[in-house]
Subunit: 298 residues, 5 copies
Amino acid sequence: MIVRSKPGVWDVAFAVNGSILPRIAPHLVAIALISLLAVLAAMEHPGIFARISAIPFTLIGIALSVFMSFRNSACYARWWEGRELWGKLIIACRSFARQTSTLDDDDRRVLLRGLCGFCFGLTARLRGGDELAAIKPWSDGGIASSVPNPTSALLSQIGTHCLILMKRGRIDPIHYAVLEGQLTALSDVQGGCERIASTPVPFAYSLLLHRTALIFCVTLPFALAGSLDWWTLLPVLLVAYTFFGLDALGHELEAPFGLEPNALPLDAMGRAIEREMLSLLGERDLPAPLEPCHNVLM
Amino acid sequence: MIVRSKPGVWDVAFAVNGSILPRIAPHLVAIALISLLAVLAAMEHPGIFARISAIPFTLIGIALSVFMSFRNSACYARWWEGRELWGKLIIACRSFARQTSTLDDDDRRVLLRGLCGFCFGLTARLRGGDELAAIKPWSDGGIASSVPNPTSALLSQIGTHCLILMKRGRIDPIHYAVLEGQLTALSDVQGGCERIASTPVPFAYSLLLHRTALIFCVTLPFALAGSLDWWTLLPVLLVAYTFFGLDALGHELEAPFGLEPNALPLDAMGRAIEREMLSLLGERDLPAPLEPCHNVLM
Amino acid sequence: MIVRSKPGVWDVAFAVNGSILPRIAPHLVAIALISLLAVLAAMEHPGIFARISAIPFTLIGIALSVFMSFRNSACYARWWEGRELWGKLIIACRSFARQTSTLDDDDRRVLLRGLCGFCFGLTARLRGGDELAAIKPWSDGGIASSVPNPTSALLSQIGTHCLILMKRGRIDPIHYAVLEGQLTALSDVQGGCERIASTPVPFAYSLLLHRTALIFCVTLPFALAGSLDWWTLLPVLLVAYTFFGLDALGHELEAPFGLEPNALPLDAMGRAIEREMLSLLGERDLPAPLEPCHNVLM
Amino acid sequence: MIVRSKPGVWDVAFAVNGSILPRIAPHLVAIALISLLAVLAAMEHPGIFARISAIPFTLIGIALSVFMSFRNSACYARWWEGRELWGKLIIACRSFARQTSTLDDDDRRVLLRGLCGFCFGLTARLRGGDELAAIKPWSDGGIASSVPNPTSALLSQIGTHCLILMKRGRIDPIHYAVLEGQLTALSDVQGGCERIASTPVPFAYSLLLHRTALIFCVTLPFALAGSLDWWTLLPVLLVAYTFFGLDALGHELEAPFGLEPNALPLDAMGRAIEREMLSLLGERDLPAPLEPCHNVLM
Amino acid sequence: MIVRSKPGVWDVAFAVNGSILPRIAPHLVAIALISLLAVLAAMEHPGIFARISAIPFTLIGIALSVFMSFRNSACYARWWEGRELWGKLIIACRSFARQTSTLDDDDRRVLLRGLCGFCFGLTARLRGGDELAAIKPWSDGGIASSVPNPTSALLSQIGTHCLILMKRGRIDPIHYAVLEGQLTALSDVQGGCERIASTPVPFAYSLLLHRTALIFCVTLPFALAGSLDWWTLLPVLLVAYTFFGLDALGHELEAPFGLEPNALPLDAMGRAIEREMLSLLGERDLPAPLEPCHNVLM
């Protein structure tokens, strides 16, 4: 996640870090070259270009805006839902910790350390890392490497621990139901994150909008060159910057658990949970919270 | 579901697999022929065509964009809700498995295998397959063929099993309520999926937008031919590609449980549940996860 | 609900059944006549009409599209929420049946038949039918005719039956709470349906959009007649078809429990619940599911 | 709430009652006068007006439509959420009544009459009436006048009554939890209603849109007068009617608990609850349901 | 939060307090100067300016409206969700108080004062204040200064108190579960508020729209100066006022817990909770509710 304050005048003019500009720069250069070509052609054959009307471009441009806005809404909703799920994860961990505050220290240590392992395992799972390695430091029993879903298996271990506490009469059945409610919330989080990570916006959608935006930006200079001469560059680049920029940004937000600058800071949130859980277990020597690096918090 | 990475330059230019292009190709060819006709006619009778103004087309085109965007949002929301329901199914199965981890192996086997049968029965029900055959391998008791809703009947069997466990004192009433909570979640999933599958977007809506888009694309070349000559083809085909493409895509997303390329991968998700359930029952010899075939995951 | 497959080329051209066309035909004829008048007037007095600019119509037309799209979204959301509520009704009935599977046959019969009565009573209530008559065949005790809300009173009887089962120790208090959870879901459904049925989209909204659309379509031919001659008819009728059609469709969806072709199939859903409940009670002689009649499922 | 059937041709042409027209009539008259001025000025100095282009007005008009549509969606969502909250209130009262059907008549009378008092107290609170006076007839114990929130205090009394029933063993703890669930729903309703009533859409938003719409409508005639002469009045008034009408309607819907014609019928809903509760307590002499007066239901 | 009644004619014309105008005044002055420059240049070199077409500006302007509307929706949704969360906080405090009404006075005092401390601690946390100092007057035990999240730790203390009451048999396990349900709601509120406060709308989005709006407003006068002369100022300033105003307003709403005039009145809501809790504890000498100061409620 990019951590910057509200952009000031200076940022608006020159900010590169945190901008989508570097990513779409090649496209913009290509469009600029095509515009130059169009202007030169218009100077050679003014007759042909005078007849090209800008009206169909207005029509296509507006249609493209409407549909691209729809795709951006969908991508932003995925990104924000990802953040909501991790917020729910933080809440469930805190609530579980609060509801186990009168358990024996040993039991509580196993359970809360398990929650930390769940967070780090989920991060590794969502980012394609090594789940077993991420979980290992936090789980005493360990997870067999043949298990198809180690993070879920760890949650199962925590649940079994709670069931055993109930069976031995150490906690009331109602108390078990309350704790299990938080574990179900954690399952919801995992299932929701896997859903977002494994199900992109339909490919045909992205492709259709990509293609339309590309053809639109490539042909626009030919429509304007006849009347605007060298001024053609300005509106064409502004349009290309907006459309390509929103398209690229949509792609980044579509996969909120990745490693791109606009992705969610899973590592930082995992560390925050680790700090809170360890503090509740009485540890004084907490790891430091993660800080953004070059304005990007991972 | 089409499984492809972010489209690169090459894909944008030439990707056919995963594109909506093959489906709307006949329409595009027809529109191209009509455009040719319009251009030829405009060359014959330039007087008539000079008077046709493009302004009413701007108006209709924008109105069409706005309404088509609304229909696309509704169809995409159905598709995404379908995916959310199946995510909920996965979560409920995992939670149910976690909450039964201290039961006898025999009871647990019956229950978890029942969940697998529920998933495959639901898939068959949603895709018009043979529910009874899909359920049979997973259910010991079997389901009578006269039952109107076999998948729901299987869930009922699982619920009755839990009730009996409570009656015999093997599980606490609270524990029963916790388990039944997951079964209710599974009922929610089935009811939600049936709702989406049985209730399309109102037919009159689709028809109205279809007709307007068709008349618009058929008449557009006549409005542009007067001023654009052979260039007419470019904006007309771009508009037709965008409108027909979004319309066709909306139709695919409207029915998210079908067998079209953009439908949800029910088989793959069912297999994932099967693998997790069997692994929890201690089976080592798990079936392999389904892989996409020609970029399509079923 | 109109039950038709995806409209093919033939349907797009000629489908009347399921289309909104018959309903708005008088308006279209009127607009066509006004257009003829405008064209004739423009031929008589070309000077006046040449000065009428189409630009204010573009502005008004786009504003109208945006606001009409908003109203359509609101109406569609009501229709879809109505369907969601009935889906919830089906789910609650199934879950209640599953949770009572170990009760005595007599008790279960009373309860499940009560659920059927609830469905039919709710249908009658929402469609202005005779609630008491619809409930009577399913309720042993009967409902007093002076009761302000018979459907809710029937649900109260079912709830009281459950309370008595708990008081007599036939079911555990937790089991009672689980059953009552489904009855609360049924109350939610009834309350939600009554909310949609009794609270239309604000009248002033519908009136404002109606008026603007009407004035727009009536004046549009005068703006176009000067430049388009007899071609005026085509864009005017296309615009009128789209705006009047969406307006009429919005009105049908606004009241999803009515008897119009696009209303929800309450009868068919009630029959489906009846079939499932009777099957669970062991009845073999189930009523047949309702079939669509002239493509319309009631 | 305005209670009228779907507007027919006659209503569209002449309906005043239930229309937003009376409220914005002064604005429309002012705009008409300004238009006359513009037309007269354009006749005097045709040279100046010929140069004023309508294109910036198209741009501003479309931007204004988009933003006003957004504000209207937000206001309508508030209005509809208000209705949903009152629907939830009705559902919670019915469910609470159902769940107390086996209590002693005296206890039940106190509880259900308390619910009626809660409804009337909430109405008074939301409409700025006298809460204590509204509650008094329904509460035996009475509420001290120094209490900051009498409606919430009444709910607290009902909750305490339930707690005492549990303490005395008259109801099971689970039964208490079920009843308390409905009281929490009633707290949700009160909190939600207070939130809507106390937090308007940000003032700066309304002001910005107001100002832009006003300047737009005041300057539009000057842009059109040059080319349209006396016809200027028609599009200007249509635009002003649409924009001012939607703006005024947004304001009415923004405060759904007020006393304006489009506000929610809190009195009628309170009476409906009163009738159902009294009927369940065995009273035969129920107050009549409220009827709309001049098409307005309060 | 700005507390003003519906803006009247006077407000629309002259209101500064509560308007976004002061904040964007420097931008408007700069745009006005650029417009003057453009007009002067157009008078010097009319030939060049005559060729600049306004059509690309229409296209960009509409695209910008659509995307800015999307960003405004997202920001408003954050602001409104912030308000919903604080509404949930108020509801949970009231419900918790109602559910503890039969506890000993001492226990209840500790618990309800803890809730007040939670509210003030959360306010301090969200506004960057001193959490420990805000909590201290309300918590007997105190919170260690080394704790990473003091507000959450206070909630944990309340939860532990409830657990101990259950362990000592002073409340039933079910009663504990009911109380813990409210504490989980409070955890939800804290987690939700932290999510909104720590996760802004992606920076690249704001930057892209900022830049496009700026370039658009800076170049617009050059497009209009050729045909509008000194009238150029009017549409340019109106467009700049609308776009910059909505942009600035979006920024204020994006961070709903800040100290800007449009932020949510956390202090006033905290005081309202304090008054209700103290009143329930029998205190007569309640602090006065907070009043708006210069139309702004903090």
